[in-house]
Symmetry: D2
Subunit: 442 residues, 4 copies
């Protein structure tokens, strides 16, 4: 694959539908890093190493030195929003970052201004922005987005573009006939089918032009046959859904550990308090349902109650999200996990995660953008399920079950990178331990 | 290796130095399982599956159906203790299990009576049992243990024996000259060298007779050159140290997750409250030091501050254990983890684990005994570092760094089992995902 | 008042509408105490002391030695339920108490059998018991209850009866015209007015006969003018609403402490998980609303945002209850309290209360029954707001604001007891300190 | 008493031995308040109301409008320290307050410069400041402090001075012969008796000159007969010990609540993590012991195991403080409380208090200074135990037991203020409830 890989020449445009807390935090961080004011902590592409060759420590380069990622120096930002604030203003309102830091980045941030959004309040009842395209129908809206992208490319002289959805969670939708084929979908765009949410219009616009599109919210968006078919047709990488941060991140860390030790689980109660715009959106029942479905699935795949009915057959899983303004972006989760061990004796684990929503999400946006661009240059297209490491509810290629165990997800991601660069799987301690055992056995 | 594997014929004796809370809980559980009163939850050998062949779900047998482990029906128990209580009495005093369950198992439990222990209060100041061998010196003590084992084998008609140390933590010792060779060690036994702790006398007795010995406490015990050399000479499997339960179990689950996501860690404060005999022993500073050293090491290996100085270079790790009688065996840990993400913004994780010490440890004793016996029948000997999955401070073969990441430990364990049975590594989703990507790439 | 007090002669019948977890736990505990199997922990009437005379320690008798309460030896139990289970069966199903204890009390418990309940599923949607009176209308239902009480008194030879509502929370109702007067209410009973909930029928039946009635659920029940007027007319003590246990108990302990120290509060998030019948009932939105209203009020009264707008003017208070079957009766609450201090710096308090619903409620039922009987013998009638110590949402006499600070509530309760017995308020340390100061000042 | 009260004329000097985190935070806050940049949250003297007259709401003035306290406008600050930093520098190093706020206050803060401290590292092993008086002996040191105070008064034109000890915890000392009388103490000063700690030298210097002295650390300091006798002789108010903040504050809020409800307590485990200079000092075993003794006492007085042996007779109370640099001044406590209720069923409460040491302590320093000055003007002298509201281990007048229940402490404080101003105790709801009951009874 190495020979096919196109180099990261020229500038990479990262376009973000939704220039709110997450997007502005990511952009501010990249600029702060470029200026030497900060480190890109939490970003695997910028700080992570990869094991190569004959074992741990032998060769362990930074990922960004191993695969030809776009450099942070070459990245340009743009996007759409339903509020007219520039990124400096948006970041200031979001109150995620210290105002003194934002002030130091003001010259760069205030030049990034949103384009008018494709938006319909019917899908996100608790928001009411006014900076919205007045298109005749969804088809026209898609065409306007395509023109927006073209304009952005020209004005910023970028050679490549990727799009990462950083907008709000839309109300719950299920895949239906209009999503089944490209033709049906395009007809639906033209007759304003209500089953086509705004995020799908963005996805269509991007993928129809061969622009990689990753979905960071739990909406269907790219997870419908029409967009998958289009991606295969235009040879475009797509991926989703829902950035894995906070509580679900912790859940997909802890659950594999319980499973490893054959400890049973009878109940898992998860509550969240959150006071930012995301919390406000999820305070609406229909939008919460989209999120709930995304969050509920992870335990089943990891614990496999089908294989371990005695351990996980009776698991009661409950998730709640509460809008709680005093915390702003400082999302906080509390989990109570009821487990049992030897002789069915019960034990409990309580996890209180005082996290920051946008701080956790920002580096994921960056990594997903850079990896989506890399995939495209490597000739990969369709659903990029090797990026499920970043996602709460991974969209997979047909017939492939989703993997939610974060450690298996990371192994997959690294294995794909090694395959890209024609590197064999390394021999770790594992192998050394096995060898040592075998030598002895003779 | 398959052809070399000796079958699990006849009875297996499991001998336990220390018939206290952990040992009696394990024994009671095995008997309850045999009687159909309970399930062996928490035991990988009894409830775990192993992935084989062409991927998840294709072949996924129970481990105990895949490798020829001794059956629970064929296991016989014995041991030594400094108190004369039989196992029914010991379990009743330990107050780990419901008295009504113990009463149902009384006929079986009360027939298991300890042999007199090799013990010296100088190594465990807070205990004062009187059921102790009065040997002329440590060499004689070892010989008496060897005779004990022989007697046990005859009386119980067992074909094989393994020993798992379930005794208390001894005071802190460092390896010194007397531990450097078999000859020096045997001389030390004869002249009562204070650097030879009682647990080493047991280890010597076992390994000199080709009996596998696993150490569940943080003492040096088998982790000295003399015992390693002896194990290689007598072709005996050995392993240690310190059952990984409770707080350290949770730590080696969570830390790999933070590392996976490139999240920085500035501090990790761990406190424990515990009211059983183990807690009492650790209330003495010298014994706590042994435990502390065992517990402190795990983060370094997992987080690799050498590779990620920006993320883990300043990590402050503090561990406390407090004797707290109101909780009895219901050990409880509270961890505060100070992490940082994007732009160095700080977040916190608090984990409160309301666990049960002996409930978590019991299945580990069983698994380690069964795997040590399996290893011996497979012709494996020396340090069995593939069992580090169960251990807080894994002893490794020379030159092989310890692995503390519980997920890598489990992979190693399963890989060794597959190798034993000449099974190739399976293709998981990972591989399917890669294949899918490659097909597309062509 | 001492001379007017009637002695506690003869037996006291405690009748309980709702013989479920709380009622059966209370009954079992009283019988276990009578048999010397247990102590009545959590009951102020049985274990509490009262300060008298010239200061702390001078005179400090047990409350039950100070006021002429009915003795536990003289108490007889009965009640109504929508399930036909006797109290032994009900307690066994509730899984609150150890089955071995229940078996020891079986002879006494199984003789206590419910009478058929007045019930209408329209008020409690998630329950579906069948042991229900088929009355022509609510008036007839009340008459049947009156006959039930008469029968109970005769059969059990009791001299006095009190009723404590231990039934479920009913759906949310607001006081309306039919509740405004005795006449309107009696007309409503006859024409089956939907604003008259079953608990009101019980209250009417009791109060019309001069039988004290205390309401342990958040329903209106006695908190309507009709019942208050009737209580004054028949000279009957009444009280309510909603036993103060668990989270609200903790809240009315902690909030006065924050107020004492002039610490500001910006947010208070309270969540509960609960798996018993109470949790099931509250899983219905209409029933939860009744509970929510009861729980929300307590902070306002304690913190007085009207007087301290800078400290409490922006307090965001959110309460959630989640049905969570794995925990059964082991209710658990988690509170996050956002406070601020000097220079508005923010701090947080997290309280995790692993409580037991019925264990906390049971002694309150007993105390309220005994105090209601005492009040009646002391000639007190109407709303007994001095019992607000036990209640989440105290019903008060007209024009008297509710007091929710548990420490002020306790002071009131003790002061009323002292007044009953013509004892002056004692001089405590407080007074000693003041005296000491004054002496010095001369 | 009203007529005797001297008015708050002229300036009040507040002198602080120890110009570290707590002192500088207090000073910065007072100046910020004067400038209108902040509110004095957490200060009872500045934000608290007092109930007067015929009941709640009738008259409820601010305390500072009710008693003639010194105004914040009239307060002048000074002090001593072992480091030469001015208060701006000290506050900057302490990292308690936002640097931007400190910069806004820099002109005022940097003019406050410490005087050289009386210090001996033998009493505080983990500190090593060099800005120390080189006195011939402790008597001379006291004389130098007296001259310092005189100089401060002249230079700042203050009419009155009070001293509040904001220095470190000294090593554990018990009262001995040298502390028994003024004469013995003065002899000890002259011959450098090691039982006289530096804080006692300050106390002696102050009290000998009639300057009120309050001790905010757990050292003996004023809690010895010599200083008490001297205070009575010079008619000077004194008080101590140990500011009640954080964990002990919470403990004296929650314990009265458990006692109110007759809930038993079997164990109370309290751990603290703290990374400021206070944490460093307490990392030394001898200094921790002083603190431990101060913290351990509070439960006994509140729960009264002598009166309730069944409930509190077996209480196991354990307190730990751990130096944990990652948290700096953000002290954090975690408490596990094991309680039991009806039928001895066990429950647990976990309290995690993420507090800020200096933020909680600063307003206490201010209040104690203002109240000590008020007491002096009211003619009160000797031990001011009515100020125990602020203190972890209240020093009391001879023969008066300490009161630790924060609600009783607050009642006492307010009662003393009312007595000062010749106001009768008000009639609260309590009384209204009683009246209402009595009216009915007739």
């Amino acid at each position: 694959m190495k020979e096919q890989m196109l180099p990261a020449k020229g500038k990479l445009g990262i376009l973000l539908p939704g220039l709110g807390a997450v997007a502005s935090t990511m952009i501010a961080g990249v600029i702060a890093t470029r200026k030497g004011l900060s480190k890109p902590v939490g970003s695997l592409t910028q700080t992570g190493h990869i094991e190569l060759g004959e074992g741990k420590g032998d060769r362990f380069p930074l990922i960004k030195d191993f695969v030809p990622l776009a450099s942070l120096e070459d990245v340009v930002f743009g996007g759409w929003d339903i509020y007219e604030d520039n990124v400096y203003e948006a970041a200031s309102h979001a109150k995620v970052l210290d105002q003194h830091l934002l002030d130091a980045l003001k010259p760069e941030l205030e030049t990034i201004r949103p384009m008018k959004a494709v938006f319909d309040r019917d899908y996100v009842r608790n928001l009411d922005g006014k900076f919205i395209k007045q298109s005749a129908n969804k088809w026209d809206a898609a065409q306007e987005l395509i023109r927006d992208i073209e304009t952005f490319k020209k004005e910023n002289k970028v050679s490549r573009v990727v799009i990462v959805w950083t907008g709000s969670t839309e109300k719950y939708l299920e895949a239906s006939a209009v999503h089944e084929s490209i033709a049906a979908f395009e007809a639906g765009l033209k007759n304003n089918d209500p089953a086509i949410a705004p995020s799908m219009v963005y996805a269509y616009a991007a993928v129809s032009q061969g622009i990689p599109f990753i979905n960071g919210a739990p909406n269907l968006t790219t997870d419908i046959p029409a967009i998958v078919q289009l991606a295969n047709k235009t040879k475009t990488p797509i991926g989703g859904k829902d950035f894995k941060t906070g509580q679900t991140l912790m859940k997909t860390i802890v659950a594999p550990g319980l499973a490893a030790r054959s400890l049973g689980v009878t109940g898992w109660y998860s509550t969240n308090i959150l006071g930012n715009r995301d919390g406000l959106v999820l305070d609406d029942e229909q939008n919460f349902k989209t999120k709930e479905v995304s969050k509920l699935g992870v335990l089943e795949d990891i614990l496999r109650p089908d294989l371990h009915p005695d351990l996980y057959g009776d698991l009661y899983h409950k998730i709640r999200i509460n809008y709680y303004p005093p915390h702003g972006d400082n999302k906080e989760s509390w989990d109570n996990i009821d487990i049992f061990g030897w002789l069915n004796y019960q034990m409990q684990i309580k996890i209180n995660f005082l996290c920051r929503d946008s701080i956790l999400a920002a580096p994921l946006v960056l990594d997903l953008a850079l990896f989506a661009d890399l995939a495209q240059r490597a000739g990969m297209y369709g659903v990029q399920d090797w990026l499920s490491f970043y996602l709460k509810s991974p969209q997979t290629q047909e017939g492939v079950p989703a993997e939610n165990d974060i450690f298996k997800q990371l192994n997959t991601l690294k294995e794909v990178l090694r395959n890209m660069m024609k590197e064999d799987e390394p021999e770790f301690n594992t192998v050394k331990h096995i060898r040592a055992a075998e030598q002895v056995i003779g």
